[in-house]
Symmetry: C2
Subunit: 134 residues, 2 copies
Protein backbone atom coordinates (compact mmCIF):
# COMPACT_ATOMS: atom_id res chain seq x y z
CA UNK A 1 0.00 0.00 0.00
CA UNK A 2 1.64 3.25 -1.16
CA UNK A 3 0.46 6.83 -0.92
CA UNK A 4 0.20 8.93 -4.05
CA UNK A 5 0.75 12.67 -4.33
CA UNK A 6 -2.19 15.07 -4.47
CA UNK A 7 -1.43 15.81 -8.13
CA UNK A 8 -1.34 12.14 -9.01
CA UNK A 9 -4.54 11.58 -7.03
CA UNK A 10 -6.36 14.30 -9.01
CA UNK A 11 -5.10 12.79 -12.28
CA UNK A 12 -6.40 9.37 -11.27
CA UNK A 13 -9.76 10.88 -10.29
CA UNK A 14 -9.98 12.75 -13.60
CA UNK A 15 -9.41 9.50 -15.48
CA UNK A 16 -12.62 7.79 -14.33
CA UNK A 17 -16.23 8.89 -14.97
CA UNK A 18 -17.73 8.14 -11.57
CA UNK A 19 -17.04 8.67 -7.90
CA UNK A 20 -18.83 8.77 -4.57
CA UNK A 21 -19.82 11.89 -2.69
CA UNK A 22 -19.89 11.73 1.10
CA UNK A 23 -21.81 14.43 2.96
CA UNK A 24 -23.99 15.02 5.96
CA UNK A 25 -27.63 16.03 5.82
CA UNK A 26 -29.85 16.56 8.84
CA UNK A 27 -27.52 14.68 11.11
CA UNK A 28 -27.08 11.61 8.97
CA UNK A 29 -24.11 10.66 6.81
CA UNK A 30 -24.85 9.93 3.18
CA UNK A 31 -22.93 8.58 0.21
CA UNK A 32 -24.07 8.93 -3.40
CA UNK A 33 -22.33 7.66 -6.52
CA UNK A 34 -22.28 10.37 -9.18
CA UNK A 35 -20.65 11.12 -12.51
CA UNK A 36 -17.95 13.75 -12.50
CA UNK A 37 -15.46 15.67 -14.57
CA UNK A 38 -12.38 17.60 -13.47
CA UNK A 39 -11.59 21.03 -14.92
CA UNK A 40 -9.24 23.70 -13.63
CA UNK A 41 -8.70 21.71 -10.46
CA UNK A 42 -12.41 21.58 -9.62
CA UNK A 43 -14.58 18.48 -9.49
CA UNK A 44 -17.92 19.03 -11.24
CA UNK A 45 -20.89 16.79 -10.60
CA UNK A 46 -24.46 16.90 -11.81
CA UNK A 47 -27.56 16.06 -9.81
CA UNK A 48 -31.24 16.95 -9.86
CA UNK A 49 -33.06 19.66 -7.98
CA UNK A 50 -35.08 17.53 -5.62
CA UNK A 51 -32.33 15.20 -4.49
CA UNK A 52 -31.11 14.99 -0.92
CA UNK A 53 -27.69 16.07 -2.13
CA UNK A 54 -29.04 19.25 -3.73
CA UNK A 55 -31.01 19.99 -0.58
CA UNK A 56 -27.90 19.53 1.56
CA UNK A 57 -25.93 21.94 -0.59
CA UNK A 58 -28.73 24.48 -0.88
CA UNK A 59 -29.40 24.61 2.86
CA UNK A 60 -25.87 25.67 3.64
CA UNK A 61 -25.48 28.40 1.05
CA UNK A 62 -23.70 30.71 0.55
CA UNK A 63 -20.84 29.10 2.45
CA UNK A 64 -21.30 25.79 0.68
CA UNK A 65 -20.96 22.46 2.40
CA UNK A 66 -17.81 20.47 3.11
CA UNK A 67 -17.90 17.12 1.39
CA UNK A 68 -15.62 14.18 0.77
CA UNK A 69 -15.38 12.91 -2.79
CA UNK A 70 -13.93 9.47 -3.39
CA UNK A 71 -13.01 7.72 -6.62
CA UNK A 72 -11.33 4.40 -7.05
CA UNK A 73 -10.58 1.61 -9.45
CA UNK A 74 -10.46 -1.66 -7.54
CA UNK A 75 -9.78 -5.07 -9.04
CA UNK A 76 -11.59 -7.70 -6.95
CA UNK A 77 -9.59 -10.54 -8.56
CA UNK A 78 -6.12 -9.01 -8.18
CA UNK A 79 -7.07 -7.49 -4.79
CA UNK A 80 -5.40 -4.32 -5.94
CA UNK A 81 -6.16 -0.85 -7.25
CA UNK A 82 -6.24 2.75 -6.16
CA UNK A 83 -8.50 5.08 -4.20
CA UNK A 84 -8.37 8.85 -3.84
CA UNK A 85 -10.35 11.16 -1.58
CA UNK A 86 -10.75 14.91 -2.06
CA UNK A 87 -12.19 16.90 0.82
CA UNK A 88 -13.43 20.36 -0.08
CA UNK A 89 -16.33 22.75 -0.35
CA UNK A 90 -19.26 21.99 -2.63
CA UNK A 91 -21.30 24.85 -4.06
CA UNK A 92 -23.95 25.04 -6.76
CA UNK A 93 -22.85 26.59 -10.02
CA UNK A 94 -25.27 29.41 -10.83
CA UNK A 95 -23.41 31.84 -13.10
CA UNK A 96 -25.04 31.67 -16.56
CA UNK A 97 -21.73 31.62 -18.41
CA UNK A 98 -20.44 28.75 -16.28
CA UNK A 99 -23.70 26.83 -16.73
CA UNK A 100 -23.48 27.35 -20.49
CA UNK A 101 -19.85 26.24 -20.51
CA UNK A 102 -20.73 22.95 -18.81
CA UNK A 103 -24.03 22.35 -20.63
CA UNK A 104 -24.57 18.60 -20.93
CA UNK A 105 -21.45 17.84 -18.87
CA UNK A 106 -20.57 15.83 -16.96
CA UNK A 107 -22.50 13.25 -18.90
CA UNK A 108 -24.57 11.15 -16.49
CA UNK A 109 -25.57 7.51 -16.64
CA UNK A 110 -29.12 8.01 -15.40
CA UNK A 111 -32.09 8.93 -17.56
CA UNK A 112 -33.65 11.58 -15.31
CA UNK A 113 -32.97 15.28 -15.84
CA UNK A 114 -29.82 16.20 -13.92
CA UNK A 115 -30.29 19.93 -13.94
CA UNK A 116 -28.18 20.99 -10.99
CA UNK A 117 -24.45 21.50 -11.40
CA UNK A 118 -22.24 21.40 -8.31
CA UNK A 119 -18.57 22.36 -8.13
CA UNK A 120 -16.26 20.97 -5.47
CA UNK A 121 -13.09 22.90 -4.70
CA UNK A 122 -10.69 20.29 -3.28
CA UNK A 123 -8.71 21.40 -0.25
CA UNK A 124 -7.20 18.13 0.99
CA UNK A 125 -6.46 15.44 -1.58
CA UNK A 126 -5.05 12.07 -0.55
CA UNK A 127 -4.80 8.71 -2.21
CA UNK A 128 -3.13 5.36 -2.19
CA UNK A 129 -2.43 2.40 -4.41
CA UNK A 130 -2.65 -1.21 -3.33
CA UNK A 131 -0.28 -3.38 -5.34
CA UNK A 132 -1.13 -7.05 -5.88
CA UNK A 133 0.36 -9.31 -3.20
CA UNK A 134 3.38 -11.30 -4.41
Amino acid sequence: MAEVTAAEAMALLAGVPVGRLGFHHRGLPAIRPVNHLVEDGQILIRTHFDSRLSAAVAELLPQGVVVAYEADDLDFEARAGWSVVAVGTAQPVTAPDRLAHFEGRPDTWVDQPMNKLIAIQPEIVTGFRIEPAR
Copy 2:
Protein backbone atom coordinates in the same frame (compact mmCIF):
# COMPACT_ATOMS: atom_id res chain seq x y z
CA MET B 1 -32.60 3.52 -12.90
CA ALA B 2 -34.57 1.20 -10.60
CA GLU B 3 -34.64 0.92 -6.83
CA VAL B 4 -33.94 -2.41 -5.17
CA THR B 5 -35.41 -3.70 -1.92
CA ALA B 6 -33.43 -3.54 1.30
CA ALA B 7 -33.05 -7.33 1.28
CA GLU B 8 -31.76 -7.32 -2.28
CA ALA B 9 -29.43 -4.45 -1.45
CA MET B 10 -27.90 -6.38 1.47
CA ALA B 11 -27.47 -9.45 -0.78
CA LEU B 12 -25.67 -7.34 -3.39
CA LEU B 13 -23.44 -5.82 -0.70
CA ALA B 14 -22.63 -9.28 0.71
CA GLY B 15 -21.56 -10.42 -2.75
CA VAL B 16 -18.61 -8.04 -3.08
CA PRO B 17 -15.46 -7.88 -0.89
CA VAL B 18 -15.08 -4.12 -0.65
CA GLY B 19 -17.13 -1.01 0.07
CA ARG B 20 -16.70 2.57 1.20
CA LEU B 21 -17.36 3.87 4.68
CA GLY B 22 -18.54 7.45 5.04
CA PHE B 23 -18.24 9.11 8.44
CA HIS B 24 -17.47 12.39 10.13
CA HIS B 25 -14.46 13.06 12.31
CA ARG B 26 -13.66 16.38 13.96
CA GLY B 27 -16.00 18.26 11.69
CA LEU B 28 -14.78 16.85 8.40
CA PRO B 29 -16.44 14.22 6.23
CA ALA B 30 -14.32 11.22 5.34
CA ILE B 31 -14.63 8.22 3.05
CA ARG B 32 -12.45 5.12 3.31
CA PRO B 33 -12.57 2.01 1.12
CA VAL B 34 -12.48 -1.11 3.29
CA ASN B 35 -13.00 -4.85 3.01
CA HIS B 36 -16.17 -6.22 4.53
CA LEU B 37 -18.23 -9.29 5.18
CA VAL B 38 -21.91 -9.60 6.06
CA GLU B 39 -23.10 -11.96 8.78
CA ASP B 40 -26.42 -12.05 10.64
CA GLY B 41 -27.41 -8.79 8.99
CA GLN B 42 -24.37 -6.92 10.24
CA ILE B 43 -21.57 -5.48 8.13
CA LEU B 44 -18.14 -6.28 9.58
CA ILE B 45 -15.06 -4.32 8.60
CA ARG B 46 -11.49 -4.44 9.79
CA THR B 47 -9.16 -1.51 10.33
CA HIS B 48 -6.11 -0.72 12.43
CA PHE B 49 -5.90 0.90 15.84
CA ASP B 50 -4.28 4.15 14.86
CA SER B 51 -6.45 4.98 11.86
CA ARG B 52 -8.72 8.00 11.71
CA LEU B 53 -11.67 5.65 11.37
CA SER B 54 -10.83 3.81 14.59
CA ALA B 55 -10.36 7.13 16.36
CA ALA B 56 -13.74 8.36 15.13
CA VAL B 57 -15.47 5.24 16.42
CA ALA B 58 -13.58 5.16 19.72
CA GLU B 59 -14.29 8.79 20.55
CA LEU B 60 -18.03 8.27 20.42
CA LEU B 61 -18.27 5.13 22.49
CA PRO B 62 -20.35 3.61 23.94
CA GLN B 63 -23.08 4.98 21.71
CA GLY B 64 -21.14 4.22 18.55
CA VAL B 65 -21.10 6.49 15.54
CA VAL B 66 -23.59 6.70 12.71
CA VAL B 67 -21.96 5.90 9.40
CA ALA B 68 -22.95 5.35 5.79
CA TYR B 69 -21.58 2.27 4.08
CA GLU B 70 -21.68 2.10 0.30
CA ALA B 71 -20.88 -0.76 -2.04
CA ASP B 72 -21.30 -0.86 -5.78
CA ASP B 73 -20.33 -2.64 -8.93
CA LEU B 74 -20.18 -0.15 -11.78
CA ASP B 75 -19.30 -0.94 -15.36
CA PHE B 76 -17.65 2.12 -16.91
CA GLU B 77 -18.07 0.71 -20.45
CA ALA B 78 -21.73 -0.27 -20.19
CA ARG B 79 -22.50 2.79 -18.01
CA ALA B 80 -24.49 0.51 -15.79
CA GLY B 81 -24.35 -1.30 -12.47
CA TRP B 82 -25.68 -1.09 -8.96
CA SER B 83 -25.01 0.83 -5.78
CA VAL B 84 -26.31 0.25 -2.26
CA VAL B 85 -25.99 2.37 0.87
CA ALA B 86 -26.55 1.18 4.43
CA VAL B 87 -26.82 3.81 7.16
CA GLY B 88 -26.38 2.53 10.68
CA THR B 89 -24.38 2.55 13.86
CA ALA B 90 -20.75 1.44 13.88
CA GLN B 91 -19.25 0.02 17.07
CA PRO B 92 -16.01 -1.78 17.82
CA VAL B 93 -16.31 -5.49 18.48
CA THR B 94 -14.67 -6.19 21.84
CA ALA B 95 -16.24 -9.39 23.17
CA PRO B 96 -13.54 -12.10 23.13
CA ASP B 97 -15.84 -14.76 21.71
CA ARG B 98 -16.90 -12.48 18.86
CA LEU B 99 -13.29 -11.52 18.15
CA ALA B 100 -12.34 -15.20 18.08
CA HIS B 101 -15.26 -16.00 15.78
CA PHE B 102 -14.12 -13.40 13.25
CA GLU B 103 -10.38 -14.01 13.60
CA GLY B 104 -8.70 -13.27 10.26
CA ARG B 105 -12.00 -12.09 8.75
CA PRO B 106 -12.87 -10.10 6.81
CA ASP B 107 -9.72 -10.75 4.84
CA THR B 108 -8.12 -7.43 3.91
CA TRP B 109 -6.11 -6.43 0.86
CA VAL B 110 -3.51 -4.39 2.70
CA ASP B 111 -0.36 -5.77 4.31
CA GLN B 112 -0.52 -3.85 7.59
CA PRO B 113 -1.99 -5.39 10.75
CA MET B 114 -5.75 -4.72 10.74
CA ASN B 115 -6.39 -5.46 14.38
CA LYS B 116 -9.61 -3.57 15.00
CA LEU B 117 -12.95 -5.13 14.10
CA ILE B 118 -15.96 -2.87 13.65
CA ALA B 119 -19.58 -3.96 13.29
CA ILE B 120 -22.17 -1.84 11.54
CA GLN B 121 -25.82 -2.47 12.34
CA PRO B 122 -27.71 -1.23 9.26
CA GLU B 123 -30.84 0.78 9.99
CA ILE B 124 -31.68 2.25 6.58
CA VAL B 125 -30.70 0.28 3.49
CA THR B 126 -31.34 1.61 0.00
CA GLY B 127 -30.04 0.78 -3.42
CA PHE B 128 -30.58 1.10 -7.12
CA ARG B 129 -29.59 -0.47 -10.38
CA ILE B 130 -28.73 1.44 -13.53
CA GLU B 131 -29.53 -0.59 -16.61
CA PRO B 132 -27.53 0.00 -19.79
CA ALA B 133 -29.13 2.57 -22.08
CA ARG B 134 -30.85 1.08 -25.13
